[in-house]
């Protein structure tokens, strides 16, 4: 952001102007980035505070379960609650109808009951759970309660978002079926993003783009792989020069492996979601809170804008939980202790061994 004018000395004062005049939905991140929330406080925390403005988030869908919609809904709701303009593209016939399914931010009252509830649960499980997870959770919940306009909200999945949030002019819905080709979608995105030019002085307004199931079979463009790639590339570069964040979910199994890799390389932030089978006895034995877990979230890539240092996460596999069937929560996998002395408790699980062997913090 401070790059347009030439600074010949490496030592210069950081201009605090940009940070002071900003709204609560934007946070200062490391390396001169600004962060917005993904709508899931736990995901924000894992990604290092939030999603940096100007980054492209890609979500690899599970072909059999709609878990990516959970991420998408919270992402969109978060933007709408903060009155950020939104562009939503989906292969469905009636994309505006999807807005009716968005979750609403939970009221402070609910929050309290939830944290109270969580405390009770902790009391029961304290015997063998890792202590370090407590502190984080607690501070996270505390941060939620203060003022109305905040960086991120908790969303109650069972309460629909109030209509007035999404009836305004600032919400644009596109059905990718109606568009003649991918170039038309690209045009819409570019014109949407032109509302948020990036300049040094301040961030007036931020936008969000959500594209659901790009390249889904019902879209015309599924067999035009190079066109899709060049669409993603140009979207990435326009987002980078705008005060906006784009999220794309795509069915990775439908894209050929080599193109899938190309897509992954284009993403600033790459996550994948995976459902877990309903009645898996082995897993149920292995993981605590199995009843609440609906799937796994794998983080493959964390946004690295303006820095070369890779982020080493504590765990790359998180479990997606629906607490009380209302709140979307991401947690590190809590594996039941096998045997304290054996030390081989990592990577011993059945169907999730591929992911969990990576997730365990390796002790060197």
């Amino acid at each position: 952001m401070a790059a347009t004018k030439t600074r010949t000395s490496s030592f210069s004062r950081n201009l605090p102007a940009a940070s002071s005049a900003q709204s609560p939905e934007i946070k200062c991140g490391p390396n001169g980035t600004f962060l917005v929330s993904s709508g899931i406080p736990d995901l924000d925390k894992t990604l290092g505070g939030g999603i940096p403005l100007g980054s492209l988030v890609m979500v690899m869908e599970d072909s059999e379960a709609p878990h990516h919609m959970l991420l998408l809904r919270n992402f969109m709701s978060q933007g709408l609650v903060q009155k950020q303009p939104l562009l939503y593209a989906s292969p469905s016939k009636d994309p505006r109808g999807f807005l009716g399914t968005l979750p609403s931010p939970s009221s402070p009252k609910d929050d309290k009951s939830r944290s109270h509830d969580a405390e009770q649960e902790k009391g029961l499980r304290i015997a063998w759970q890792y202590k370090k997870y407590f502190g984080e959770n607690q501070s996270n919940l505390d941060g939620q309660r203060d003022n109305k306009q905040e960086f991120s909200n908790e969303f109650d999945l069972r309460r629909p978002l109030d209509r007035h949030f999404y009836t305004g002019q600032h919400v644009d819905c596109i059905s990718t079926k109606d568009l003649p080709n991918i170039a038309a979608l690209q045009e819409r995105c570019t014109s949407f993003l032109s509302q948020f030019p990036r300049n040094d002085a301040s961030i007036a307004c931020t936008g969000r783009i959500a594209i659901q199931s790009l390249c889904a079979p019902q879209c015309e463009s599924s067999n035009m792989e190079w066109e899709m790639l060049s669409f993603i590339r140009s979207l990435k570069s326009t987002v980078r020069s705008a005060n906006a964040v784009a999220i794309i979910t795509f069915p990775s199994s439908l894209v050929s492996p080599s193109f899938c890799k190309r897509w992954q390389h284009l993403a600033d932030c790459l996550v994948s979601v995976k459902a877990i089978p309903d009645e898996d006895k082995e897993l149920a034995k292995l993981l605590t809170g199995y009843q609440e877990i609906v799937g796994f979230l794998n983080i493959h890539r964390v946004p690295r804008i303006n820095t070369q240092v890779p982020a080493v996460l504590e765990a790359t596999t998180l479990s997606i939980k629906l607490q009380k069937r209302r709140y979307l929560v991401l947690e590190c996998l809590n594996q039941a202790p096998v045997d304290g002395s054996s030390g081989s408790s990592y990577g011993t699980s059945g169907s999730c061994s591929g992911s969990s062997s990576k997730s365990g913090s390796l002790d060197f």
């Binding site: 952001m1 030439t6 060049s230 390389h265 804008i305 070369q308």
Partner: protein, 262 residues
């Protein structure tokens, strides 16, 4: 050359032997391959820093074709490494070609050709603008090659042609070429012609990979470096293959042999 700036990567690239001569990379073509898990762009940053700040009075010029990131990104990173790109750009030693939004237009017959022609014309223009004796000092850096393919809408042959032209510059004028590519893209193909051609043309091949054991906080990955120059040298027992591990920091990168880190 002071020893503090020397490190395992420089040695493997042969940078330490050539500091006396005018062109630091010695007209070589360097190919860096990385994957989704571990990004190899830090090698580019290291090389740029090395080229621009190694000796204060050198006349090295870096021509940077940026397909992946905007200038501000590189500027911030290199600033932390101790190299002011903006200032270097002012005095003409760092030439930044912003290719972020450039589409190499697809004609009916031409494929991605015309756009790449223009780009190559641009490169030769820069080369010709340098004084005759200084052409050796030019290093062309491409970040990254897979995005040229995307920009050219998949006409890999044209991209290969373009790269061969660039490679020809290294033998004709003695300038150097540094390319970044992602090798996992091609791993699922049964005949990855594009990748093999590039690897064949490269004098030095740097592969950046994650550790087999997964992510670790103090070792970010490993990098086997194959230096064909070194294997061709008379009777050397060194087969030109080096494998070491690295840890990336904001202001430097640590290189060490496996297990050699205390």
């Amino acid at each position: 050359m002071d020893s503090r700036a020397r490190n395992l990567l420089d040695e493997a690239l042969g940078l330490d032997q050539l500091t006396q001569s005018k062109s630091p990379l010695g007209g070589k073509a360097v190919l860096i391959e990385d994957c989704v898990e571990t990004s190899g762009s830090f090698v580019l940053h290291q090389l740029i820093k090395r080229l621009l700040t190694a000796t204060p009075n050198s006349s090295n010029v870096v021509l940077f074709l940026a397909f992946a990131n905007p200038f501000s990104h590189y500027d911030r990173i290199l600033r932390k490494l101790g190299c002011n790109l903006a200032a270097q750009r002012e005095n003409g030693r760092f030439i930044f070609v912003d290719m972020l939004n450039v589409q190499c237009p697809e004609g009916k017959a031409g494929g991605g050709r015309s756009g790449l022609f223009a780009l190559f014309a641009n490169i030769t223009k820069v080369l010709n603008s340098l004084p005759e004796g200084n052409r050796k000092c030019l290093t062309i850096v491409i970040d990254d090659v897979s995005l040229i393919e995307v920009a050219a809408h998949g006409s890999s042959d044209h991209v290969l042609d373009f790269l061969h032209y660039c490679h020809a510059l290294t033998s004709n004028h003695g300038c150097s070429l540094v390319m970044l590519n992602h090798d996992d893209i091609y791993s699922s193909m049964d005949r990855p012609v594009f990748l093999k051609q590039m690897e064949y043309a490269a004098d030095v091949l740097v592969k950046v990979k994650p550790l087999a054991t997964g992510l670790a906080a103090d070792v970010h990955g490993q990098m086997p470096v194959l230096n064909r120059d070194q294997c061709n040298r008379r009777g050397s027992l060194n087969n030109g293959m080096n494998n070491f591990q690295f840890r990336i920091k904001e202001n430097s990168v640590e290189y060490f042999y496996p297990g050699a880190r205390t």
